[in-house]
């Protein structure tokens, strides 16, 4: 009997140990716990393609360097390409009715894409010598040797490119000329093309070029005293308008197609009366007229045939104007959009008649979208042969909307393509009164569902059954409920976008629960060019979790420079309403969330400004008294990458010069200066402050104990040789090295230093528990490498002696002080890794018991889960049986890439920038949120879900087994009864 139980246990152990430790997924499990959302970013330019019957689409280029073709009916993406980070798109157009042409990289790369499927057709590299304005012009009906030509100006040269195969037909270099080309003009049907521009010294030049061969036909130049601004606006085939450079208070019209270039100057005050501030020309292309922004007014000015200017209309400022659109022979129209009492007013007017409206609509607009930034219009013929218009508008929060017939046909939240920071918030607790757990299914339905599942697992299901099972699993209402769950899977992801908008996404299905455009971070708000920096959890109520809402704080900055004044906005997590906002008088360089909360559960935060003063928030006397208790225990560090200095700081006293009792001055306690000629800081990484470590001790196979050196005050710093700080290919192995440091940020002591010769950055690193893993490039092997450093505390190693433990001579109870000088030993090892890496994170779980996995965002925009056991410095080529039993993997020179362990499976998170892991309440499971241009969320269990039944657990099979066991009991009972009876009769 005993042997049997032993065998049984052994069997069980073996069974579980054979399962693959890596993350893996069946294809039908896609979408059960994960979601993926595709975005494009803020639209810069849009070209409609609606001529043909069939699919109507709009091609857009965005500020995230994305080119995409969208379905005009529903706003879905047909295809999309994300360009490299420094390959910004300058212009797009459609050529030949079937190719999308993109000009990027400052006018040096021209690509053509097949309109239906997004396949690149050709690519041309346009060479030039000096940076200049890049212009793309695709004339519709211009043949050059039976070829439709595209004219591109970039890097100081004008190119004519064949639209069929991208061959450069001719090239005209303007780099030697002093004039910088601002516009290229091709009058309809003519054989000449004009390139016009100005130079710095008020000179205006016009070049007349033969479109067939690029021959310079004529060059006119004239100078205008005082000069004019760089922006030249084309009004008609031979006329431009600009602001004068000297005062900015008068308009200059330039007529260049005659023999002579003539200038005509008109004072703006003559047109609109007195004005203050500056006038700005709006870049809309309108024939015969232009628009200008003066004093919160948009003024439309027509140029008469005699060259005089006259004001035709005025509208109040937050307004946008579209380019002119040819609607029928000789008739052009444009759209203008104004704001008023929560609505937007769209008007479409013919260009030559201001007083009439082709279309006038008012649409209620969500205030959280802010004002309209851009508008693109397109027309269609209604069934009654009148003109209908649709307008694509880009809002302040970067969202994209299509308006048609006075309604919003579709909208896209493309602000989510530019997430700056992310945090999480708990959902409300399920209240007793409002039971959300209504009777979800009756027992019969429940059983039927499980029978279906059982059929699925036994591979007996028909295709319809399979579809039914899949549908049942996906629409499970459990995961998208608005209340907290036992496992802690349902949360709100709070994300801050570059537009200054905050979104709360539900982890269950990724829907937007609420969104808020922060008034302080709006461009149209009180500060100029605000930038959102970070979000922090401000208040997580514990005592009154039922009736108080958690809140978070968003730290921003009024302006781009680091010493610009900061802003704080406090937002309620459940309602998405701003509780209060503060415009700070000081700058924000660093925010330190302290481990102290006040009586109302608000977490104390120290905001460090550019002069290393610390400001305490919340500003209450309660907070001050709490801080005073911990006053001498607050340390922080600052990394100055430009000068190569890392400094440690501590609080000193109250600010002297400032009359602010929440302001504290600091003192420098240590500094490390890296030699500028040999080391340049490229990465500084520390542990996540809220990480939980289960145990300090690590028991090895030979019954030995190693003590991890676990300190929250460790900083990993990587430096490279200044020569090798560029990209790969610019430095030789001899002149490049990479040095890594582990620094104690309390004492400034360098605990470990190591140099990798012949290696260079970029370095991506992650710090957790007592180890750091970093990724860099080895120039000698010409491969990427990943290294691990583990740090152990040697001073506690004596505690292993049992005798000392018994006699009480151990130091386990001695307090740990960061000032003590622990004897540490480090172990490290390195491995090759195939891919470039964009981001590294590590899974974090509630108690830190579950083994860890590294989450590696690769250059292919996928996320690979790699078990930490592969990065263990104790790996050897031939581990002993004892070590094998401990789980040490035999050493290999490169890290394995198992396709099944991609957490993003067959999906791509385009433009991947960051990976966030959040512990759930279930110890085995961590939540992973990946953001870039796309968003991806999933749950992963690094050591399998050992503490819960998996989703596809078959209850029906369990029931059948139990029934079978009961039947067996009865059968055997009856049998034994019979046997007993027979025995008795004998």
């Amino acid at each position: 009997m005993g042997m049997a139980i032993k065998d049984f246990l052994l069997l069980l152990v073996l069974f579980f140990s054979f399962t693959n430790p890596s993350f893996s997924l069946y294809e039908d499990q896609v979408g059960l716990t994960d979601w993926h959302q595709q975005y494009i970013g803020k639209v810069k330019q849009a070209v409609f393609h609606t001529q043909k019957t069939g699919r109507k689409r709009v091609v857009v280029s965005t500020e995230e360097n994305v080119i995409a073709s969208l379905d005009l009916r529903r706003g879905e993406i047909f295809w999309r390409h994300v360009f490299g980070s420094d390959d910004a798109i300058d212009g797009i157009d459609i050529a030949l009715g079937k190719y999308v042409i993109t000009l990027s990289s400052e006018g040096s790369v021209l690509r053509a894409w097949n309109l239906p499927d997004g396949q690149m057709v050709w690519e041309s590299f346009l060479q030039g010598t000096k940076p200049s304005k890049s212009l793309l012009s695709v004339p519709t009906n211009l043949k050059v040797d039976k070829d439709n030509a595209i004219f591109v100006h970039g890097k100081g040269s004008l190119h004519a490119v064949s639209s069929i195969d991208g061959v450069i037909l001719w090239k005209k270099d303007f780099a030697a000329k002093s004039v910088e080309v601002q516009q290229i003009i091709h009058p309809l049907g003519s054989d000449v093309i004009y390139a016009v521009g100005s130079d710095s010294s008020s000179q205006f030049g016009a070049y007349q070029i033969n479109v067939k061969n690029g021959e310079l036909l004529k060059h006119n130049a004239a100078s205008f005293p005082g000069g004019f601004s760089r922006e030249l606006l084309l009004i008609s085939g031979d006329m431009l308008v600009a602001l004068d450079a000297a005062t900015g208070s008068s308009l200059v019209t330039i007529n260049f197609q005659d023999e002579e270039i003539s200038f005509q100057q008109t004072d703006i005050s003559n047109l609109v009366g007195d004005f203050s501030g500056t006038a700005v020309l709006l870049p809309s292309k309108l024939p015969g007229m232009f628009s200008m922004k003066v004093d919160a007014l948009v003024i439309f000015i027509r140029v008469t045939d005699e060259g005089n200017l006259e004001v035709v209309g005025k509208i109040s400022d937050p307004a946008v104007v579209s380019d002119a659109l040819l609607i029928s022979e000789g008739q052009q129209a444009f759209a203008l959009l104004e704001h008023g009492d929560g609505k937007i007013h769209l008007k479409v007017k013919p260009v030559n008649d201001w007083s009439s409206d082709l279309l006038k609509e008012s649409i209620v607009m969500d205030r959280q979208r802010g004002i309209v930034h851009r508008i693109f219009i397109n027309n269609y013929i209604r069934t009654d042969r009148s003109h209908g218009f649709r307008a694509l508008i880009v809002m302040e929060d970067h969202s994209l909307l299509l308006l048609q017939q006075g309604e919003i046909v579709w909208s896209r939240e493309d602000g989510l393509a530019s997430i700056v920071d992310a945090t999480t918030s708990e959902l409300p607790v399920e209240k007793v009164g409002v039971s959300v757990a209504k009777v979800e299914e009756n027992l019969f339905e429940w059983l039927k569902g499980h029978m279906l599942k059982l059929k699925g697992t036994l591979m007996l299901a028909s295709p319809e059954d399979v579809a039914a099972i899949q549908g049942m699993r996906l629409k499970s209402s459990q995961k998208s409920k608005m209340t907290r769950d036992h496992n802690g899977f349902r949360k709100l992801l709070i994300v801050l976008t570059r537009a200054g908008k905050v979104f709360a996404l539900h982890t269950g299905d990724g829907r937007v629960v609420w969104s808020l455009l922060l008034p302080l971070l709006r461009n149209s708000g009180p500060c100029e060019n605000p930038t959102g920096l970070n979000t922090y959890q401000w208040r997580v109520p514990h005592h009154h979790a039922m009736d108080e809402n958690p809140s978070f704080v968003i730290v921003g900055r009024c302006g781009q420079s680091s010493n610009a004044p900061g802003t704080l906005s406090f937002v309620d997590s459940y309602t998405g309403k701003e509780i209060k906002s503060l415009g700070l008088t000081h700058s924000v360089v660093q925010v330190i969330p302290l481990q102290i909360t006040d009586s109302t559960d608000q977490r104390l935060h120290l905001v460090i400004d550019a002069d290393q003063h610390a400001y305490l928030y919340p500003r209450t006397s309660d907070a001050i008294s709490l801080l005073q208790r911990e006053f001498s225990n607050i340390y922080w560090y600052s990394v100055d990458t430009d000068n190569g200095i890392i400094k440690g700081h501590a609080l000193k006293s109250k600010c002297i010069q400032k009359d602010d009792e929440y302001c504290f001055s600091s003192r420098d306690i240590w500094s490390i200066v890296f030699p500028a000629d040999s080391e340049k800081i490229i990465a500084a990484v520390r542990r996540k402050l809220n990480e939980v470590v289960h145990t300090q001790a690590k028991v090895t196979a030979d019954q030995d104990v190693m003590y991890k050196h676990i300190s929250k005050n460790l900083l990993f710093v990587a430096t490279v040789a200044p020569k090798a700080s560029g990209e790969i290919g610019t430095a030789t192995p001899e002149e490049s090295w990479l040095a890594v440091y582990l620094i104690d940020t309390i004492t400034g002591r360098i605990l470990h230093r190591m140099t990798h010769h012949g290696s260079q950055g970029p370095v991506r690193a992650v710090f957790s528990e007592n180890w750091v893993v970093y990724h860099y490039f080895n120039l000698r092997a010409h491969r990427y490498e990943m290294s691990v450093i583990e740090i152990y505390d040697q001073s506690r190693a004596d505690n292993k002696d049992v005798l000392k433990l018994v006699l009480g001579k151990h130091n386990l109870t001695s307090p740990i002080s960061s000032y003590s000088r622990p004897e540490v030993v480090t172990k490290s090892q390195y491995y090759f890794f195939t891919h470039s890496v964009k981001a590294i994170a590590v899974t974090s779980t509630a108690k830190g018991i579950t083994s860890k996995q590294l989450l590696i965002g690769t250059i292919g925009d996928q996320v690979l889960a790699l078990d930490k056991r592969y990065l263990d410095p104790r790996r050897t080529v031939n581990p002993s049986p004892a070590e094998r039993e401990e789980g040490i993997i035999p050493l290999t020179d490169s890290l394995p890439i198992i396709p099944q362990s991609y957490v993003t499976h067959a999906l791509r998170v385009e433009g991947l920038r960051g990976i966030v892991t959040i512990p759930s309440k279930l110890e085995s499971t961590a939540l992973v949120f990946v953001y870039g241009v796309d968003l991806f969320y999933t749950q992963i269990a690094p050591s399998k879900t050992y503490d819960s039944l998996t989703d596809d657990f078959s209850y029906a099979l369990l029931l059948i087994t139990i029934v079978a066991l009961i039947v067996a009991i009865f059968v055997t009972w009856v049998l034994s009864e019979k046997k007993e009876l027979q025995d008795k009769w004998r």
Partner: protein
Amino acid sequence: MASSSRSNPVILVLFILSCCGLISLSLAISSGSGDGYTINGRVKIPSIGAKGFGLPGKISNVKVILNGGHKVTFLRPDGFFSFHNVSAGTHLIEVAAIGYFFSPVRVDVSARNPGKVQAALTENRRGLNEFVLEPLREEQYYEIREPFSIMSIVKSPMGLMVGFMLIVVFLMPKLVENMDPEEMRRAQEEMRNQGVPSLANLLPGAARSN
């Protein structure tokens, strides 16, 4: 080896695999008229029809990445790609394609000897003298569901439970039957003396401590 003159930036030699089932990467380096060089190459992906799982093996979704994201380019319909304005030195080209595993390629652009091509796979250090990159492997991102088998039922915890029960019910009496009645009685005697054996005594760790 490919060779080209400074004035004529043209790919002179291209080895195109006749076999369509292979992924090939052909590389050629030619000099541009500016200070940079041009790297031309080709990626070939087997036809989509040959693949069982509907992985997006579309050529339009393949990206070619130079030096860890410094430059990104896309493939033309025939699989060609080029990087322009590349400085002399040793560079790294990566191919990102969902469903395929590509080894990064080390490319040496020689300043002294324009047109000199040196490319090697970094994964297995194989030189690309013939400009051919063997397919390293296809990537299968999903576990394949095992078809229903008796073993999977037996191996599941429930199966083990039933199996164990069967052993106890049918095999144990057999064992008892085969025992010598004398021995049996002695064992029963012993048992009565010791009391009921607890599970803890049967565990291997606990046994050692006794």
